[in-house]
């Protein structure tokens, strides 16, 4: 029993130390984002990889998730004879929750693992030390471009994903709920309030911070060669996924308070 408690306390202390380290690392990334030198070419390359590289995954996931959601709502609403509300429910669900969460998780799986694996492999091969030895700040060169590019690209992906998910819902509205597409899109437009848009854009911005900070931090703290890179990559994706869901709730609660909803 004492051993269990001791193990738990040690584990908790390690978790807190890790959290502190992550917070310090994130602070360094943010502070370096506003001071030269800026690596615009690296930022552009990362933006291309994050945006264009994740586009097909984000759109396919959003399209089918939108259709599944539309199908579920259509059946439930048909039972109460209120299928005309499908557009409203789809808008609120997709823009406020499904879009940011789904695309956040898809991008986390793809990019957090990529960031950690790439930086972790560089660390294992002494390339990070080589960078420092040649007078280049590796946080500035590697982490800041990933952070800035994802901060722009994830909200952009979510906007496109939301649109495609709503199109998926429209297909269900037409073929399953048998309501007119004009009515569906009118409902979508009517319920696309500033508050909903704010929630729909604030979440991916926060998720972009989580994915880039955790992905890079796990890479920079990788130890133990290729096995260590593998472990860091797994931990990175797991941590990002869990934190995205936790922050989804926290942000919803906070934004509801701000918007007096």
């Amino acid at each position: 029993m004492i051993g269990f408690v001791r193990g738990f306390l040690l584990g908790f202390a390690g978790f807190l130390a890790g959290l502190q380290d992550l917070a310090q690392f994130s602070g360094r990334v943010v502070s370096r984002s506003f001071r030269p030198p800026f690596y615009w070419r690296d930022t552009y390359e990362q933006a291309y990889m994050a945006g264009v590289g994740s586009l097909h995954l984000a759109l396919i996931s959003a399209f089918f998730a939108g259709q599944a959601l539309g199908l579920q709502f259509s059946r439930q609403l048909a039972e109460t004879g209120s299928t005309t509300l499908l557009g409203m429910l789809m808008t609120i669900s997709v823009v406020r929750a499904l879009g940011p969460d789904l695309i956040g998780l898809v991008v986390a799986a793809r990019l957090a693992s990529g960031y950690t694996a790439e930086i972790g492999a560089m660390k294992s091969a002494n390339q990070i030390d080589a960078m420092v030895a040649f007078g280049t700040d590796p946080i500035r060169k590697l982490a800041v471009p990933r952070f800035l590019s994802l901060l722009v690209m994830l909200p952009a992906l979510v906007i496109l994903g939301d649109l495609v998910a709503l199109i998926g819902g429209a297909i269900m509205a037409h073929f399953v709920a048998h309501i007119s597409l004009t009515l569906y899109w009118q409902q979508v437009q009517r319920n696309l309030s500033y508050g909903t848009i704010l929630i729909g854009l604030a979440k991916p911005a926060v998720f972009a911070c989580l994915i880039s900070w955790i992905g890079c931090w796990k890479g920079f703290t990788t130890t133990g060669g290729t096995r260590g890179v593998g472990m860091s990559t797994t931990e990175s994706v797991t941590l990002c996924s869990v934190l995205i869901l936790i922050f989804d709730f926290i942000l919803t609660r906070v934004l509801f308070s701000i918007l007096h909803w």
Binding site: N126, A133, T136
Partner: protein, 272 residues
């Protein structure tokens, strides 16, 4: 030129170096010998300021690496080139971009200028300048090491090159080429070098001074002849399998020291 003063260094509470003091004189090649995991590479990392000692000081041209600010440290690093273990070339960059990394990051040199310098450095280390657009993984290990040396030479104005296990894992032909480059840089450019290795025959070929690290401390510091006659039991045990190479090295040292002994003695008396 480089001086360690009573340096202590630990990792995770485990003492790696304890009261380590030595100096490296301009134009010489100091070989740091010792078994694997004894802290040889740590010495190089300490010189570059990649890690900080718990106690003591490290001076490069009289400037403390330990108390240097970020900018001062970058200034010191410009005078030191580093060849990392396994080369540590940036695998997403071409050979030319690797060699020109420092120039692209820290100077206003144009791309044409960087290209010209990279080709020059490739020639200097005995490689074909047409390799400039190759990726590191297209090269053999020996070529990668020489590209790493070229990169170190193109980084600022290096007066010292640090080599971390430069010949480990190389075939005899590549090994010969790498050791030749190290020797040529000393002969042609008077480059000061510190070579960390546990490959005794290579060490004896390129070294002018030797330092044996064992059990956290310096057990020996001196020339090849003194290395061969040292009574330190740990050093004797370490060198035991390489007696033949050692005898050859001492003979070579005796032959060459007749001409250059006076100059070396003067340098040791007045290190920069």
């Amino acid at each position: 030129m480089i001086r360690f003063e009573h340096v202590d260094y630990s990792i995770g509470g485990r003492k790696i170096l304890e009261d380590v003091s030595f100096q490296v004189v301009k134009g010489t090649t100091k070989i740091i010998l010792g078994p694997s995991g004894i802290g040889k590479s740590t010495v190089l990392r300490l010189i570059l300021g990649l890690v900080k000692p718990e106690r003591g000081d490290i001076l490069v041209d009289g400037e403390s690496v330990v108390s240097a600010s970020g900018d001062q440290l970058n200034g010191i690093r410009q005078r030191i080139g580093m060849v990392f273990q396994d080369g540590a070339l940036f695998d997403s960059l071409t050979v030319g971009e690797n060699i020109g990394f420092w120039l692209l990051e820290n100077s206003d040199a144009s791309l044409d200028e960087v290209d010209r310098i990279a080709r020059e450095k490739l020639v200097l280390v005995g490689l074909d300048p047409e390799l400039i657009d190759s990726m590191p993984d297209e090269l053999s290990l020996g070529m990668q090491r020489r590209v790493a040396i070229a990169r170190a030479l193109a980084s600022g104005q290096p007066k010292v090159i640090l080599y971390d296990e430069p010949t480990t894992g190389l075939d005899p032909n590549s090994l010969e080429m790498v050791t030749d480059v190290i020797l040529r840089l000393r002969a042609d450019l008077s480059m000061t070098s510190i070579v960390v290795t546990h490959q005794i025959p290579d060490a004896l070929k390129v070294g002018t001074d030797y330092l044996f690290l064992f059990d956290r401390t310096v057990h020996f510091e001196g020339h090849a002849r003194e290395l061969a006659t040292s009574v330190d039991p740990d050093l004797a045990h370490f060198l035991d399998p390489f007696k033949k190479s050692l005898i050859t090295a001492v003979a070579n040292f005796s032959a060459t020291s007749a001409g250059s002994g006076a100059a070396s003695a003067a340098e040791r008396t007045h290190p920069q």
